[in-house]
Symmetry: C2
Subunit: 337 residues, 2 copies
Amino acid sequence: MPQKRVNIRDVASRAGVSVGTVSRVINRKPVSSETLALVNQAMREIGFTPNAVARSMRTNSTLAIGLVINDISNMLFATIAKAAEKVLQEQNYSLLIANTDNDPARERFIIESLIQRRVDGLMIAVTDETDHATNALLRSVDFPVVLLDRQMEGPFDSVCDDHAPGMRKAIRYLFDLGHRDIGLITGADNVRPGRERAAGFRAGFLEQDRQVNERWLRQGRLDALYGYAQAIEILSASSRPTALVAGGNQIFSGVLRAIRRLDLTIPRDLSVISCDDVDLTVLTDPPITVISRDLEEVGSVAAELLLRRIRQPREDERLCHVVPTELIVRESCSHVK
Amino acid sequence: MPQKRVNIRDVASRAGVSVGTVSRVINRKPVSSETLALVNQAMREIGFTPNAVARSMRTNSTLAIGLVINDISNMLFATIAKAAEKVLQEQNYSLLIANTDNDPARERFIIESLIQRRVDGLMIAVTDETDHATNALLRSVDFPVVLLDRQMEGPFDSVCDDHAPGMRKAIRYLFDLGHRDIGLITGADNVRPGRERAAGFRAGFLEQDRQVNERWLRQGRLDALYGYAQAIEILSASSRPTALVAGGNQIFSGVLRAIRRLDLTIPRDLSVISCDDVDLTVLTDPPITVISRDLEEVGSVAAELLLRRIRQPREDERLCHVVPTELIVRESCSHVK
DNA sequence: CTGTTAGCGCCTTCAC
DNA sequence: GTGAAGGCGCTAACAG
């Protein structure tokens, strides 16, 4: 573990030039080819590595971006993170990832820590869009913020998925198959995916001049446990829907668990549609019909939006990139009657 | 976007104290209760946020840890990352995540960037344990490094999983069921999980005084595409094994795809064992017998090891925490004959 | 093209 | 318990 306390000044004296010249070499500014060689050699000889902390301090830019999400071990966020990191890495930015675990207080703590670290930008899927403290904090920030499938008042760009239209397509599809008794389990209204999916669900029924059965519309959380509990409730009641939509990839995992537990067969006993295409929906038997979207697009567009805004922080209107949603029909839904 | 260019000096003059005193308040050093209140109020009034970059520069510590992996969208790494981040967050450390995409050159680039950023520590699952350039780079580093299920010469702590014994248990289990024709698809020898799983596989056969059928032992990569391709080859040959072990969670995904494609039924046509317990193995039908380990332990122990070493960088011998492996029997294997 | 110099914001002696 | 001063490593402005 060689302690490298070598700095630009050491390089300068070793190469017989000034620190300014070394700095220029590091930053690829015009330098005579002789001094360039000289400096490069000196750097190699004494094992110099530029100190990004000092540079950040001086340039007032850290080339670091924060990503704040519930849980990186959720495939959804992991996929988004990967795509975002790819874009950032190409531009020499680094990605700081922090999990809020759905805790607003923790979320705020994380944001403050990122502020102190002077990140150049932030991508965040806030835990609760109606949380005023978080909103105030995000508004107070002096770097660009991109919301990941969230809506909040403030000068934020966002990448949003077209959940509602997707859900309508799904409902229409189910109606076409003869289903009238349809359930949906998804997140609460304080978070865009839950809100939009529920809205699309209602819109789908409206379009058919049908009433939503409120007992079968469950809006709470987006996690597997919630999906499991609600599915058990809905499916073990005396009368149950003929089709159930899992409004979220983790919810689907819970729903499937419930279906196995109750020993139901898809699609004989129950038609099922999920959101987000993951291994599980493709590889389970039968393969599951899903409302899908390009998650990598979410991540890479979010990163690009951020970089753009960092480079030209014009005060003009905020962008909202919407990612389309698509119904992929597989074998998890059957005709009714 | 209020530009906050307030620093410790502004706070000091606002509060009518010296910068030293403000610094003491920030760092919770003893200060008279009056000045404490004074300073706190001043900080609030002018909206002061400590600058972690400047602090890092001064204290020579960034409170940042790097995590270098192939692909954060691999459940394996996502789970590890989550557990590690939790531990780090509690200690006020932040986590920088970068994907190598299995590219050694990119991996080196990332490591160098982390060095320049002066991270306080690094967790890494190197792409290729035999890569000398990467090894040299990691040895040259002046902060602690923890290897994630990898082995390399050098002053590195590591967290390793007990793959070989787990694989032996699996083989023994299959033999007990009457299987003699067993295949394994896993990573190459230049990466610990692949090497250990293959070793355990061979050991299992040795223990039974049986020969491994080399046609059915495939060591290449740990991704789904490789798993798929190899499974197709093995399973569509004129004679095929009665049992197949997927040596990795992504490989299993590919294997399952191949099985569906060839329209085989588990366990009637083929017994299957996978490694790592994920949604897919639990929820597919039938549920899959797996060699499992506690992935969260991997992440949290790695973080703890790192923090320990950061706090006391004694030169004493390197630690290798080994995480046990366990065979979870489910319904994917049947008796033979 | 190159050298010199003044800080970036903070912490840490050292006096008081 | 508090104030003053130096410097962490680097970049940017200016002068040559």
